[in-house]
């Protein structure tokens, strides 16, 4: 509650601070954050040191929670069956009260299917954990398709260190067709490629993404299962693990392909849940902020999550206020003379004069150059080369997608502040 109050006070305070001060501060902060990631990368995050193969491969239970996923479940199960693994493995599908018959006709050798009343993904995974036979649990979304070597590459990361509670992997968009899906494809490469690798090197992983993640069963036994009322239970369990001294590792040699929404409405719904859930989780673990017990995680990673969303939603709030004022001034002309902070953002110089350069512009150049480096490295990690087909999605990712995300951040924060019921 105190955290929410602080944030609300900060937003209100920002309304009374000058535009130049805010944008200068934000620009400097962005430059600093980008330099942090750059130095983390150059200091050694770029290295990939594969852990040795375990002497004895542990048994793995693959849990697939499913709800009305008729279009993707069979492909997901087939991909899991194709996983190469030297140890014992089982596949458990938990039908969370589907009404499309997706699980009823699922009769595949070696796949156990359990049905339960609908209770949400987290409850389905907890149900599956109880049914699991082995000490390593892999949770796979029913619209995700792991590559054949995913499991055999992830497991050594867990076996190398008994404090590793979870291992995450590289998430890619499956068969992107629409422009929106291609934008998300590049976004995933950068987020789950470069940034995940960088965060991994400082112990800063704050989420065990839903498409696929490997857990040590002991984590659930000691900390409890997934929080069933939480809309981003994958982030909540990760924060809980970090708080209790468990490590989370990233294995970039492992890849899982997942379906991404290909409509704006679908992306909005997904990100709205992510941002709202993320905000709620970060507030829940507010005591980890700037707590030296948690090192870089408490001093850098958690504040970064909050700052990014805060600034994105604040700038969008100003822009919307300025647009609303312009629209209303058609009816009430006197409103046209009213100054709002958003006016500075939406108004552009009348001519593109190269001389109208200020310090924020120079910082933007630096940030853009460093961003290009991040994208280049992300493409390298994925084994792709930047080509003409990536130009349009990249341009949209840089200039249009952030506006959309800013609006989604604002909507999600507003929903959280007003106490709107959370849901999938």
């Amino acid at each position: 509650m105190f955290g929410i109050f602080c944030l609300a006070a900060a937003v209100v305070a920002l309304l009374f601070v000058s535009y130049q001060t805010v944008t200068l501060f934000y620009s400097l902060l962005t430059v600093y954050i980008f330099f942090v990631f750059l130095t983390i990368w150059l200091d050694g995050a770029w290295r990939t040191i594969s852990p040795p193969k375990p002497a004895k491969w542990p048994g793995v239970s693959i849990i697939i929670p499913s709800y009305n996923s008729a279009s993707t479940l069979r492909d997901c199960v087939a991909a899991c069956k194709r996983l190469r693994y030297a140890g014992k493995a089982e596949i458990i599908v938990i039908d969370d009260g589907s009404t499309d018959g997706s699980c009823e006709s699922l009769r595949i050798a070696g796949v156990k299917v359990f049905r339960k009343e609908n209770g949400g993904k987290a409850s389905a995974m907890n149900f599956g954990i109880k049914k699991a036979s082995y000490g390593r649990i892999v949770c796979v979304d029913s619209d995700s398709y792991p590559r054949e070597d995913a499991l055999e590459k992830m497991v050594p990361y867990m076996e190398e260190d008994s404090k590793v509670g979870a291992v995450v992997l590289f998430i890619c968009v499956s068969r992107p067709k629409s422009l929106l899906a291609k934008v998300q494809e590049i976004e995933y490469w950068v987020s789950y490629g470069f940034f995940l690798k960088a965060l991994d090197s400082i112990g800063g992983l704050y989420v065990t993404p839903g498409p696929m993640a490997l857990y040590r069963r002991e984590v659930f036994e000691k900390l409890g299962g997934f929080e069933e009322k939480n809309i981003t239970e994958d982030m909540e369990i990760a924060l809980r693990m970090q708080k209790n001294g468990w490590k989370i590792r990233a294995c970039h040699q492992s890849v899982v392909y997942t379906e991404a929404p290909d409509t704006l409405q679908g992306v909005f719904r997904q990100r709205f849940r992510w941002f709202r859930g993320g905000f709620a989780n970060v507030i829940k673990y507010f005591d980890m902020f700037f707590n030296e017990k948690f090192g870089a995680f408490g001093f850098f990673v958690l504040p970064l999550i909050l700052v990014a969303g805060f600034f994105a939603s604040t700038f969008m709030l100003w822009i919307l206020a300025s647009w609303a004022k312009s629209a209303l001034s058609l009816v009430l002309p006197s409103l046209g003379n009213m100054k709002t902070l958003g006016d500075f953002i939406v108004s552009a110089p009348g001519s593109l004069d190269y001389m109208a350069v200020d310090s924020v512009f120079i910082f933007s150049i630096f940030c853009t150059l460093i961003w290009c480096f991040f994208v280049y490295k992300s493409f390298q990690i994925t084994g792709n080369r930047f080509g003409p087909k990536h130009a349009v999605p990249m341009a949209l990712l840089l200039f249009a997608f952030p506006l959309f995300l800013g609006f989604t951040f604002l909507a999600s924060y507003a929903a959280e502040f007003t106490g709107l019921k959370r849901g999938w």
Partner: protein, 220 residues
């Protein structure tokens, strides 16, 4: 002692901030320099007009024989120069005092306007039709002001004896507020043609030319 990434990033950020400060301050000075030159031209023109008028009064001959002697202010410069001043002032962090440059500019422009009016009264055969253009300085941005100015500039270029003077209604200069009050300017953009007609609705180029021709402008 090996620095952690956060300390290294802080050092790099401070270096970039210092570099930005130096570059922007150099740019500010260069921008201010180029603007001062433009403003000085306006001041020169205003002074020239005043001197010509005083010389004419000293002589015994026709005072109007010198009336046509003025260097021509590029007609499109008035608003765009003011807009540039505004843009640079918003971008300005350190260095140049744009407020002083702006003050000097608008004072010179107002003096030039007065000379134009005096000239029109004393020497009607050489008179130029003054058009006062009132706009709003950003923020908030006034895209309709920019639009109207473009139409006005094109219209003025078609008419040989028209001179435009652009003043921002939200500038806190008494002589500008005097003009705003005198012509009862309520909203922007607004034009006052030949001291008589207040036009506060958006006009296109042809409509402005028609109004100027009605006031005696020689337009093509």
């Amino acid at each position: 002692m090996a620095l952690n990434p956060f300390a290294k990033a802080a050092i790099l950020t401070i270096a970039v901030a210092a570099l930005a400060l130096v570059v922007v301050s150099q740019l500010d000075d260069a921008r201010a320099g180029s603007l001062r030159k433009s403003v000085e031209l306006v001041s020169f023109e205003s002074e020239s007009s005043r001197l010509v008028s005083e010389y004419a009064q000293l002589g015994d001959g026709d005072p109007c024989m010198f009336a046509n002697f003025t260097t021509s202010l590029q007609k499109e410069r008035a608003y765009s120069l003011a807009e540039k001043l505004g843009d640079y002032q918003r971008s300005n962090m350190v260095g140049a005092d744009y407020e002083a440059i702006k003050r000097a500019y608008f004072v010179s422009l107002a003096e030039l306007h007065i000379r134009t009016l005096e000239n029109a009264r004393k020497c009607p055969q050489y008179a130029e039709i003054p058009v006062l253009f009132f706009y709003r300085e950003a923020p908030p941005d006034c895209p309709e002001c920019r639009l109207q100015n473009e139409a006005l500039v094109l219209a003025a270029q078609r008419c040989g004896n028209v001179r435009t003077f652009a003043f921002p209604v939200n500038a806190n200069y008494s002589f500008i507020q005097l003009l705003v009050g005198k012509y009862k300017v309520q909203k922007v953009p607004a034009m006052v043609i030949d001291e008589r007609e207040l036009v506060d609705t958006i006009q296109n180029q042809d409509q402005i030319v028609a109004m100027l021709e009605k006031d005696g402008a020689a337009c093509s």
